[in-house]
Amino acid sequence: MIDPIFPLTFPTDDLRLLTGILIGFGFGFVLERAGFGNARKLAGQFYLNDMTVFKVMFTAILVAMVGLYGLASLGMVDMSMIWISPTFIPAQAVGGFLLGIGFIMSGLCPGTSVVSMVSGRIDGWVTFVGIFLGIALFTLTVDWVPGLHTLYLAGSGEVSLLHEVMGVPALVLALVMVAGAVLAFVGAEKVERIFQAKRSPVELTPPSRPRIKLAMGGSLAVLAIVTLTAGSPGSAGTVSPMVSMAPLSLAESIIEREPGVLILDLRIEPEAEKGIPGAVAAGDPVMVIGLLNSTPEGTVVVTYDESGAFKEAPAEWPKTMDYRFLEGGLAGWRDEVLTPAAVWGSSLAERERVLRQSQISAFFSGAGVQSSSVTAPPPAMPTGGAGKKPKSGGC
């Protein structure tokens, strides 16, 4: 596992701020070259005769998405230090709709109005002044217009990520989006051609040439392949299979109070049923990693879920532990350990085994065959190392 190197750390804050000039320069330059300093070209998006906004924006979103989550899956980005705008659904839905209305009225959005302005466009200057006034209007009214204040603050305000809401890995969602975008781009080219017959687009717009279409298809294919390889097993940042452990062996180990064993309860609903004595309920994946990082090296970590389906240690887990999974999960534990053996076998060895099992079963069911005062050693519960979030952000 590689240590995260992104986001970069700078010796001084001034140095970090200075990178803003460079990256902002690139942003402004590309927006200008894409034609986004021209309100007429941007407006074409809403009359379907020039879909440049859609093409540039979605290509950029997908490139950055695959890059960011691809590097994160390789362990190179500490996503807890990446600022993603928190979700306030009512304010963002209403704000988005209003912004769309303002966009088609002025023909520019806030970012492109800056480019239009410095390209000498008077409509760009006027739009930028308008944006300033609009921000002032909101800022001055938000605290005394009751509905506005409520709307601004309604919603969870937590960082909600689309792939987590959908329950799929980020790169899988990104791949689906890349595939969807290829189809959407083909569609956009067709729609453009139909509407350009009615209304010609802004001059200087390069016509679609086969060579460029090929390049577009090629780069999207590369994106898809990168996405697939980054997300598929076999590359860095994948899961590793665990050795199994029989429920009775675990039971013995608990009774013997073997040191250096950590039992990790990975069930989704640990409240639903009483777990294995001494097990630590995992909580969310970040907490598990925090817990494992503060556990001594070489510890035998026995994991269990409801049914024993969890058999692979995630890539993010430290490689210094001896990971096992409990055969059959808690169900296996219930069947083998908590259920007393009923049938006497014939051979002596068999009878000894059954006797031992019934003792174990009695021990964990609380009947107390041997020393009932023995309780499983509860492992120390360190606090998770998560929870750092950078401060900055905004549009």
Binding site: G20, I21, M65, Q92, G96, I101, P110
Partner: protein, 170 residues
């Protein structure tokens, strides 16, 4: 002098995506545009009415712990946009003092629309905590749920009134 052609949209998109990725990897956040006006307002507010500014729902976080509101990566980044946009237009031969509009609307009419649209966008970007750059582009790439809702609503809002304001462009 004849102006340079615009870049192919997909090529521009890939480069824009790499710039956005660089922002995330270097600074830990995406790109933006409204931080400069928002934080300028905080600066003015702090001079004129410091107590009001410190309590304002929008501005209070910008002036917390005595920090200068303009000492912020996104503000510096907008300064970069100004430089990059200017040099881009200059080098492409597109630097010109003019109003972009269709033939069927007066300059005054077009600028009235631009002003009204600007005011609406400033208000909307404040409400949504970001604009097309900060929410749709950056938050979209970061897979933020609210950002995707915002983005879809921007297109919905634009298409819903496009027919009413078509006089500007045709």
């Amino acid at each position: 002098m004849k102006a340079r052609e615009y870049w192919n949209p997909y090529v521009a998109g890939v480069i824009l995506g790499l710039v956005l990725l660089a922002a995330y990897l270097v600074a830990g956040n995406g790109l933006g545009a409204t931080a400069l006006p928002k934080r300028s307002l905080a600066l003015v507010g702090n001079q004129v009415a410091p107590e009001w500014t410190a309590q304002n729902t929008v501005l209070k976080s910008y002036v917390a712990d005595g920090a200068s509101p303009l000492r912020n990566w996104l503000v510096v980044e907008v300064v970069g946009v100004i430089l990059g946009g200017f040099l881009g237009a200059l080098s492409a031969g597109r630097l010109a003092k003019k109003v972009e509009k269709g033939p069927n609307i007066s300059v005054r009419g077009r600028l009235t629309y631009a002003m009204a649209g600007g005011v609406i966008m400033g208000f909307a970007a404040s409400l949504a905590r970001g604009c097309t750059s900060g929410q749709a582009l950056s938050g979209g790439a970061g897979l933020g749920t609210g950002s995707w809702i915002f983005m879809l609503m921007v297109f919905a809002g634009g298409y819903s009134v496009a027919h009413l304001v078509r006089r500007q462009w045709t």
